[in-house]
């Protein structure tokens, strides 16, 4: 193991911001005309255009450089699986795009030893009019396979995709699940020495996801090098030997997966807490009614930040309906608790118990009472939602508040259960017959 499989040296990618828009020939001519007459171009055109960047950056004026990646250096040894983690806009996708040669870096260089396969999307180049069979060949060659290789592994690919009987149907008639299965089947048989994978496992049903992760595990055992971007911390922890944490385009940490994931998850808690619920912008849903506050109270009506398993609690959502609107009927609400790996461990939903409420204009309080709180010790996030009937999501806030759970005496024995093993607590009685 002499040479690293991937060697990245001082890689940077700059996007120009605040540049005067010259997207059309007419713009260009006006620009040249103003320039020729030595006027202040910015003043006369005043159009500032750039896309894909947060509005915070957008407010600056004049020419400005935005560094999606800044001076990133790291090495990956053959056989290592590196998970790349980081928040939105940390530069993860840009890094993958540069390493898979989709775009060129602005500075720096990288060396990759061995055949590179990149999987930034499943089903790239699928043509809707072509049959599954034809698309296997099309998609395979787009990703760099030779026709002979595909022919040799054709049966394996088909078996993996589980769509044998639709092989000669145009893919436009496929369900989205079938489409993804076929696409991933091709990708899984790519056989590169270095594999670059973006968050493509987010598609497909759970069973198929599991199969894909398993297949990636096989690839790992064959000693291939993998670069893997994911928001699924469980997948990163399961698959990756090492992790690279990017923040604002720079390397924040590089090391053993468990260490990086722990630090990364720790830091993300702080940022999520910063905003009050009323001011949160990251909402989904139609917004006809909004969640403006959320709190948990104990039996005495006192607000609690730390919950104890076994106690009785009231979870209250304050919902606001604009004063000049009509009342809303059939409203359901839910509170879900997710652990640090973003897996939901607890969910209370009023539609489960057929409790449909009517919201009146102004502020309404919807309270959910839990008699015997049964989630194990740890740090959780509450995701809140408000819906109407079965179809409409009125408001949904992911990770609206942090919930700490500790202490308590759920079992009456002082045991806390095994929080690392299982997040829910169950009282059970045991008996023995011989």
């Amino acid at each position: 193991m002499s040479n690293p499989a991937i060697s990245v040296r001082g890689l940077s990618k700059r996007y120009r911001l605040g540049e005067i828009s010259r997207h059309t020939l007419a713009d260009e001519l006006t620009y040249l005309c103003h320039k020729f007459r030595r006027r202040n171009v910015a003043e006369h055109m005043g159009k500032v255009a750039f896309t894909g960047v947060s509005p915070a950056l957008n407010q600056g004026h004049g020419n400005q450089d935005f560094w999606a990646l800044r001076d990133v250096s790291f090495d990956v040894q053959p056989g290592e699986i590196i998970g790349i983690v980081g928040g939105n806009g940390a530069g993860k996708s840009t890094l993958l795009k540069i390493l898979s040669r989709i775009t060129e870096p602005s500075e720096g260089e990288a060396f990759i030893t061995g055949r590179v396969g990149s999987l930034l999307e499943v089903g790239t180049g699928f043509h809707p009019e072509l049959t599954g069979r034809e698309n296997i060949f099309m998609n395979g060659t787009i990703m760099g396979m030779r026709i002979a290789d595909i022919r040799r592994r054709f049966d394996e690919i088909v078996a993996f995709s589980e769509i044998e009987q639709f092989l000669d149907t145009p893919v436009k008639r496929y369900s989205s699940g079938m489409y993804v299965r076929l696409a991933f089947a091709v990708a899984a048989h790519l056989d590169p020495e270095v594999l670059i994978v973006d968050e493509v496992l987010a598609v497909g049903d759970a069973a198929f996801q599991k199969k894909c992760l398993g297949k990636m595990g096989d690839v790992v055992r064959q000693g291939r090098t993998i670069l893997f971007v994911s928001h699924n911390m469980a997948a990163v922890e399961n698959l990756c030997t090492h992790a690279l944490w990017l923040e604002h385009g720079r390397v924040r940490m590089l090391g053993e997966t468990s260490e990086i994931v722990e630090h990364y998850l720790g830091s993300s808690q702080i940022t999520q807490q910063a905003d009050s619920i009323r001011n949160r912008k990251d909402r989904q849903g139609t917004g006809r009614a909004r969640i403006v506050d959320f709190y948990v109270t104990d039996e005495a009506g006192k607000r609690q930040n730390v919950l104890r398993p076994g106690n009785r609690y009231h979870f209250t959502l304050e919902c606001e309906l604009s004063a000049n609107s009509l009342s809303l009927q059939n409203v359901v609400a839910s509170v879900a608790l997710t652990d640090l790996r973003n897996e939901t461990v607890w969910l209370a939903h009023s539609k489960f118990t057929h409790e449909y409420q009517t919201l009146m204009p102004g502020v309404n309080r919807m309270t959910c009472t839990v008699n015997d709180f049964s989630v194990a010790e740890g740090v959780y996030n509450a995701t809140l939602s408000l819906g109407q009937g079965e179809v409409e999501t009125l408001d949904l806030i992911t990770n609206a508040a942090e919930i700490n759970i500790e202490g308590g005496n759920f079992f009456g024995t002082g045991s806390k259960g095994s929080p690392t093993l299982c997040k829910t607590l169950t009282r059970a009685t045991w008996s023995l017959t011989t």
Binding site: T24, T103, E104, A110, T113, G114
Partner: protein, 277 residues
């Protein structure tokens, strides 16, 4: 072991031909796909390949030959128009295919890397398929008129035909590469393209023979790299018009110049085009 070197600021004059060769499987599959997928789910299917040139010729014959009564150098109008269209259609197909290749493949090119020169080259070969069918249809009508005893006089210049087709490919590819590089920056180009091709057609002896062009406008025929070859093709098969050696030489030089400059411009533009598209 193969080593990929990724580096900022790769020079525009270095084109990786080796990489193109390595992707020949993708190349042929794409050609095959473009030829077969195009008329799927249409009733007439591949018959459209034959119908399109014939119908265009019929329209030209009726409109220009019968109503406007423009000159056809004394040739049967149907053959006159078809002999021009057979080369023109190939050129126009390549030009439009190449010009739109980056933008229309943007979805794929944003997600996976393969030599960006591949889609333009695919267009050149795909339309060669269309051309061959056009040409066979033309030959059918050619023999029909020939044995009917029409006043057409084929000559040994016919042997130059493959060279003329190659020239059309060069001009179409060269101009198309320029346009596709420009389309990345200015979307205007893709809107202007239909008008550009139409204008270019009127500046080429497809509808009017070169002999009908007044002396004042002769220079258009001279600088237009498509004019000389269409005129020569007509002369070779039908025996009308007079191919001018100087004009032909200028045409070839312009064609080669367009191709080489187009390759470099495109190569420079493709490196970071996904950032702006």
């Amino acid at each position: 072991m193969q080593i990929t070197h990724i580096k900022a600021g790769q020079p525009w004059w270095i084109i990786n031909w080796r990489e193109l060769l390595d992707n020949r499987d993708l190349f042929w599959l794409t050609v095959q796909r473009d030829l077969t997928a195009i008329y799927k789910q249409s009733v007439l299917g591949p018959l459209w390949f034959v119908l399109q040139p014939v119908l265009t010729t019929v329209v030209f014959t009726v409109v220009f030959g019968n109503f406007a009564k423009t000159s056809t150098d004394g040739l049967p109008p149907f053959l006159f128009y078809m002999s021009g269209l057979v080369l023109w259609n190939y050129f126009q197909g390549v030009l439009n295919g190449v010009a739109s290749s980056l933008v229309s493949n943007a979805g794929i090119l944003r997600k996976v890397y393969f030599p960006r020169l591949l889609p333009p080259l695919t267009s050149v070969v795909t339309y060669l398929g269309h051309f061959l069918i056009n040409f066979i249809v033309f030959m059918g009508f050619f023999f029909y008129f020939y044995f009917k005893g029409s006043a057409i006089h084929p000559s040994w210049w016919i042997l130059l035909m493959p060279g003329l087709v190659l020239h059309c490919a060069c001009v179409g590819l060269g101009a198309g590469l320029w346009l596709s590089a420009m389309t990345i920056k200015y979307r205007d180009v893709s809107f202007a393209l239909p008008f550009l091709t139409q204008l270019w057609m009127y500046a080429s002896p497809v509808i009017l023979p070169a002999s009908a062009v007044s002396a004042k406008w002769k220079w258009v025929i001279a600088v237009n790299p498509m004019a000389g070859v269409i005129e020569l093709n007509r002369f070779a098969f039908l025996g009308s018009g007079s191919p001018d050696r100087t004009i032909l030489m200028v045409s070839f030089l312009v064609g080669i110049g367009l191709l080489i400059s187009g390759l470099f411009v495109f190569n420079r533009a493709q490196r970071t085009f996904v950032d702006t598209i």
